[in-house]
């Protein structure tokens, strides 16, 4: 069934691939983010591929005044509304260690901003009794590590929020899926030292789409991260605190 997806953080590489794949299936996309020029190009691409609808709207996780117009737009679109959230920011941990005031913005971008938006739009989905919410978190949220524990903590908060939202919305026929991608080959990781299991964004996007179709609750993508993180979670803290992974 055709539905319209509100995609937050639509300039992210994975979001762009995800929007394309939705367009290929003839679904509608409302692209929300900060770089309007870039999203306009993606919207044109989606329209050419056969999207039911392809629009651009401003969204800034740190400016909650930008949330309401998106909600208003969603109300005007009939049929099933779904939401996919690809928002987050990851300043280098060393930088945060020097300037802890960066924690605040990281948490807003990766957790509280998207959570507040979801809180606003959830009643609309409940009211329509359909739709899917996809929240993209991170494997970094599964355990605090020396390399990126502030980003990880924000994502862990987001995961817990999504799990509660799933518990709440499930009874109204709205499905919530938590996605935990590993490292993905994007502009963010380009040029970083050798990363393990680096995934193509197209592959991550298609995993997400398939996971949503199957109504998965939590999705590790690529799937190798599920056993990897299971092992990492099981390491006793007494040992883990001495590791550097």
């Amino acid at each position: 069934m055709a539905q319209t997806w509100i995609i937050l953080g639509a300039t992210s590489t994975i979001a762009r691939c995800f929007a394309r794949q939705l367009a290929d299936r003839g679904e509608g996309v409302v692209l929300a983010g900060r770089d309007i020029a870039d999203m306009t190009a993606t919207a044109a691409d989606c329209a050419a591929r056969g999207a039911l609808l392809a629009e651009v709207i401003a969204f800034d996780a740190r400016d909650s005044a930008s949330f309401k117009p998106i909600l208003a737009r969603a109300r005007d679109i009939s049929g099933t509304i779904s939401v996919a959230i690809f928002v987050g920011s990851m300043p280098p941990q060393e930088q945060i260690d020097i300037d802890p005031s960066l924690i605040h913005g990281t948490v807003i971008d990766s957790f509280t901003g998207p959570a507040e938006f979801l809180g606003l739009i959830a009643p609309l989905l409940e009211e329509r009794g359909s739709g899917t919410i996809i929240g993209v978190g991170s494997v970094a949220g599964d355990r605090g590590r020396i390399g990126n524990y502030v980003y990880g903590a924000a994502k862990a908060g987001f995961h817990t929020y999504l799990s509660g939202l799933r518990n709440r919305l499930g009874r109204a026929g709205v499905h919530v899926m938590t996605v935990k991608p590993g490292t993905v080959d994007t502009a963010m990781t380009w040029g970083l030292e050798k990363l393990p299991f680096l995934a193509r964004p197209e592959k991550v996007a298609s995993d997400i789409l398939r996971g949503a179709d199957k109504q998965k609750d939590t999705l590790y993508t690529p799937i190798i991260w599920w056993p990897v993180m299971t092992v990492i979670r099981l390491i006793p803290e007494r040992i883990f605190k001495k590791l550097r992974i």
């Binding site: 590489t13 050419a48 380009w190």
Partner: protein, 436 residues
Amino acid sequence: MTWKTVDYAGWGRVHHANSPVARPERRSALAQLVENTPAPAIGMRRSYGDACLNDGGRAIDMTRLDRVLGFDAESGMLHVEAGAQIGQLLNIFAPKGWLPPVMPGTGFATVGGAIAMDVHGKNHHGAGSFGCHVTEITLMTPKGPKVLSPSKNATLFKATVGGLGQTGPIASARVQLLRAKGDVMIVTERRVEGWDEFLALLDASEATYSVGWLDATARGNALGRGILEEAETGAGLVPPAKRGKRIPLDAPAFAVSPGIVRTFNAAYWRRVPDKGRTVVKPIDDFFFPLDKIHDWNRLYGKTGFHQFQCVVPIEASAALRTMLDRIAGSGLASPLAVLKRMGPGRAGMMSFPMEGYTLAVDFPNRNGADRLISELERATADAGGRIYLAKDALAAPETVRAMYSERAKWAKTVKAADPDGHFLTDIVRRLELRST
């Protein structure tokens, strides 16, 4: 991070480069790069030799800028980012009744690459080269974007089409698509017994798309035997091709040894019945037969391979026959050999096509291949023809410069556009193409 140091190679895997590469995902990031650290653009690196390499320098990988920016379903006018791949465009637009106007032998080639090489396809005799269908190019320059068309900045347009990226990265282009009946091809295959018959059939062919496969190992009376494929677009139901087999490792050297190639070629030739046949194929199967096997270049092993491609004028067909005879006698040819009639259509100063016959043959990179290819290059020059820079890895500067009559004018235009040589690549240095 913006830059990543990468090892990369041409498709033939003979030439390699190691250099910092940036891969912008937004137009604004590309603009910044070209302003601050101008460097040549690279795409899917399907050029065989060193046209897509900048060893020791920098390069801008355009593959993430691959979106359709606009499409007019009435006129078929497409506005697209340069990193979009021809095969992707085929997949998007064929179901809507439109085709990329010219498709090279691989669907992985990007729009930017297709322009920079002014590529040709199986419809060249009628439709001309890719550049003939480009109505506008947005070029990134250190001073900002610049719009070129056959009427606006016309000289720079003609220096950019077929211009090996020397005028700067192409950000986007407007391309006129061609109407198609549907998304399948109706292909007639005919066995051809020898050289003279092949040329006669190619000359007489009225098909929109035509191409000849040659058994480049056949000698004597069988010299020039092969299969002629003529095709038109059609509508109907055919399951789409299964894509994406990979070659997991480099093949051992005997995979393309003379005996195996001879046996394969004879069987491949006999595959088509004596009387010929007409088959329906998925559109990408016809245009991109080799794309079904990703990394097929690994079949030639670690040392890689060369593709020699030349075009000679119609009246010099005898010289081409002599070249084929020489190839067949060398025992070096691989199964991949193509003969095609070309029309006059070309859109740039450094474009490859000319009215005549074009011959393309792959050779594994082994003893004797270099010498044979340089002999073939000399024969091409003597016949008044030229070799294709998208394929070349070996030629000498003097030979090539004599083949491209507008080269000096091109070099002057390029010098004005890029006075500091930011966009130089390995092939341009090797062949001294920009010397004025």
